[in-house]
């Protein structure tokens, strides 16, 4: 496939979107990533990355319903597209391939 430039952070966000399935929106992505990585992530970075991923067609979005939470603001949910999934597969294949090439030497 055509190469997709996906940074490390971008890949992590994309993975999180995929993992959260139907529940991926700004704050949930943020919390999930912070929990998994064990370090602080800034929301603005996530927003920027989501926009880029959407521009590249790796994710798509839809608005949720209005609730009394969030000052009456709708959530914007993100879902991974088939193209996005393909990109993840490609990355995964690339990495595992490389990983398996590591000689079986003891690093002890």
């Amino acid at each position: 496939m055509k190469e997709i430039s996906l940074g490390e952070f971008g890949e992590l966000v994309l993975l999180t979107v995929a993992a959260l399935h139907d529940e991926a929106y700004g704050v949930s992505i943020l919390e999930n990533m912070e929990e998994k990585q064990g370090k602080k992530v800034n929301i603005s970075a996530i927003h920027v990355t989501l926009k880029r991923l959407e521009d590249k067609g790796l994710v798509k979005s839809r608005f949720g319903g209005i609730t009394s939470e969030r000052g009456g603001r709708r959530k914007k949910f993100y879902m991974i597209t088939a193209y996005g999934k393909k990109a993840l597969d490609y990355q995964y294949a690339l990495r595992t391939g490389l990983y398996h090439q590591i000689p079986k030497i003891s690093f002890g």
């Binding site: 700004g26 943020l30 929301i43 920027v48 939470e69 000052g71 603001r73």
Partner: protein, 876 residues
Amino acid sequence: MKKAPPPERALKFLRWFCRDDYLEEIEGNLIEIFEDQYAASPHRAGWKFTWNVMLHFRPVFIKSYKTQWSLNSSNSDMLKNYLLIGWRNMLKNKLVSAVNLAGLSMGFTAAIFIALYVTGELNFDRYHTAADRIYRITKTVQTDQGERHMARAAARIAPAAVENLPAVQQAVRIAVFGRLTAGYGTFRDYEPMIAVDSNFFQVFDCRFIAGDPEIALDEPHSVVLTERLAEKYFGDEPPLGKILFTNWFEATVTGVIGDFPSNSHLDPPMLFSLSTMNTISGEFKNYMENDWASSRFSTYLLLEEEARPETVATQINDLSRKHLPADHQQVSYSLQPLKDIHFYSGDLESDYNAHKGQMAYVYIFSAIGFLILFIAFINYINLSTAGGMKRLKEIGLRKTIGAGRNQLVFQFMGESMVMVILTLVLAMAMIYLLMPAFNTLSGKNLQPDLTGGTALLIILVTGLLSAVLAGGYPAFYLSRLKPSLILKNTSGLHGKNPAGQLLLVVQFSIAIVMIAATIVINRQMNFIRNKDLGYNRNQLVTVDINSQPMRQQYEGVKASFLGIPGVEKVTTSTRVPGEWKNLHSATVIHENSPAELHYVAADEDYLPTYEITLLEGRNFSHAAADSLKILINQEAVKVLGLKDPVGQFLEISGFMREELEKPVLVEVIGVIRDLHFQSVREKIMPLMVSYYLNPFYPIDYYTLRIDTRDLPETLAAIRGVTQQFDPENPLEYHFLDEKFEELYSNDTKRSDLFGLAAILGIFIACIGLFGLTKIMVEKSVKEIGIRKVLGAGVLNITWLISGKFLRLIGIAFLIGTPVAWWVTRGWISGFAYHTPVTLDMLLMAGFIVLVISILTVSIQTIHAAKANPVQSLRDE
């Protein structure tokens, strides 16, 4: 549960910059985070929210310029069109635009410079933190001749005020003791000896570079140097703790302060501790402890916040009266605010004041600044009105397709705003470039601090105002014209614009007044320089006597000076003309009527060396018997009412208004011509010259008449003689004519500044005229062509165009000349001796302006008149 609202301002900001399609999502997420954190710590949540908003302020999320601003697209298109048309117009008339730009920016530059100068004058001494609470004590003494005001007080006043008056927080005394020789290593120079109380730095703001202001002057034999002096004496060595040699005592350097700014009336190069004087002179110590009567100490009080200076002054007078003997002169003290010292010390004697200012000059220079700016504005108004005439078609078209008058006004105002901003930028650049030159010229030390808040604000407001003022008239004038008339195209040469003509007249009247004033000022300065002073001041060198050996070995010193080949004559005296120290005075009584005479003592070579004419009687002879003989000048003869003065006896009853115990009888042996001892501003005073061998005042100067053939060698020989008699102190000499010139240095500076302003004024006016002619010529190219075809000559056509302007300048001349006469007479009467303001000076001013304007106008018109009519007529 009611949700806490996130910080309002951050939210507003987010909504302002964020793209609409992203806003809901981002805002929602941020609010959710905020609400999550709010429970834990409301304060932190708020901060975090604001911080997150800030992090979103990046290009991805910011509304694009287009979506933000072009909502009202017709307006912005119009704006763009205005700018474009304005810009094209500027480019199309490059010359006129350049003239406009140059004139306005020069006007602004001059005005800003003058504003800097004037604000500097008005802010004199105000930089001290406690400036509002600092007062100087002044003393008024009643004498037979009237009141005398002094900027000094007695020694005990300051300590007594602090001890007894709760309203007085601090009191500091400054004592000036003439000069001393200071040195370090082998370097020696003369410095003023100024000693102050140790709390000087608690009253006045000084920037300490080294040392501790609290204790610097606590000990006797301490000295605080200014940066300049520290470098002069110690170079790169750190001066703190070093010993400064002086010919009176040695002092330890305990501090280095920044130089006093140019807007401080105090300007001591170094400050000694006043207690030093107590330790080196028991007499002085006694004086410091008991003196209630003298006028020796400049005394400054720092009052409490709410203190009333009048009350404090009354209390000080009470204190003083308690300690003064009842029969003592009538003395009263009052307080002068620190801020008044610069401008309102004119009648104060013994005023330790580095720069006395005159309010009159502040007014004069402000007026000049306004006038120059005004001339520049008129240029702009006339040029854009005339230039606008060329755009009548544009205006007509705009009006026809529905432009309202407001829109047109807005368009022209906008154009002038752009113009003004451009000129301001240019002017600021010029100010930065010219600042050093201006400082040299004005003798000020202004800083080009235009970026400071208030300065920038003032400049911007002035700019805005001028854009409205200068752009206003053309805008309203042009927008008022009827489209039907405009499109019919009226003739260029006969279009009437009476206001424009009036402005031109005003402009050139101002220019004529300024030129006339410059001519008169220059005449007066020349008059002063060349006035017969009653003696020949050229080729005279004065040598200051700074030590006892030089004074006591008078005979030897004089003989050695005479032995130098280049020295023709040598004399000694207590004072020399052009003197910057106080002249002595003596009270002389003749037939019971006292008169105040200037007093100089000199030897028998005084008259020949100075080439002073003896009118009657004889000069001193080389004999001790002459010690009670005197010469007087013509003015003294008049003042004393003497008939047949030679051989008369006069009684000297006192010196410097202090009575002698016993009057001294002296005999008049000769009468000399009146001579100007001081600036020609002053009237010639009655003068007595007594023989140098007298008990009153010691000699202070040698004066040498030299021939200037081999000056360096002669000076080296003079130095050799002084070193031989007094190896301790360096030679200090002056050329008398230069010293005399210094008396007028302020006048010279002012006349230079004024001349510059006048030249600038006429220049700006003329480039305006130049631009105006250019526009006029361009507009009437066709008319000129037709006239030529019909047989008009070059002269005829030149006159047709030039005549219009020259008539106006003629009117300006008629208005300007009387005004110039009135203005310059006022200034010149400040000099006791002055050249009359004659008609020829004024006529010359008018003539100069006329010639310059004829030249300016004819460059364009002759060119136009000589052009081949085919050129202008073929394309119709």
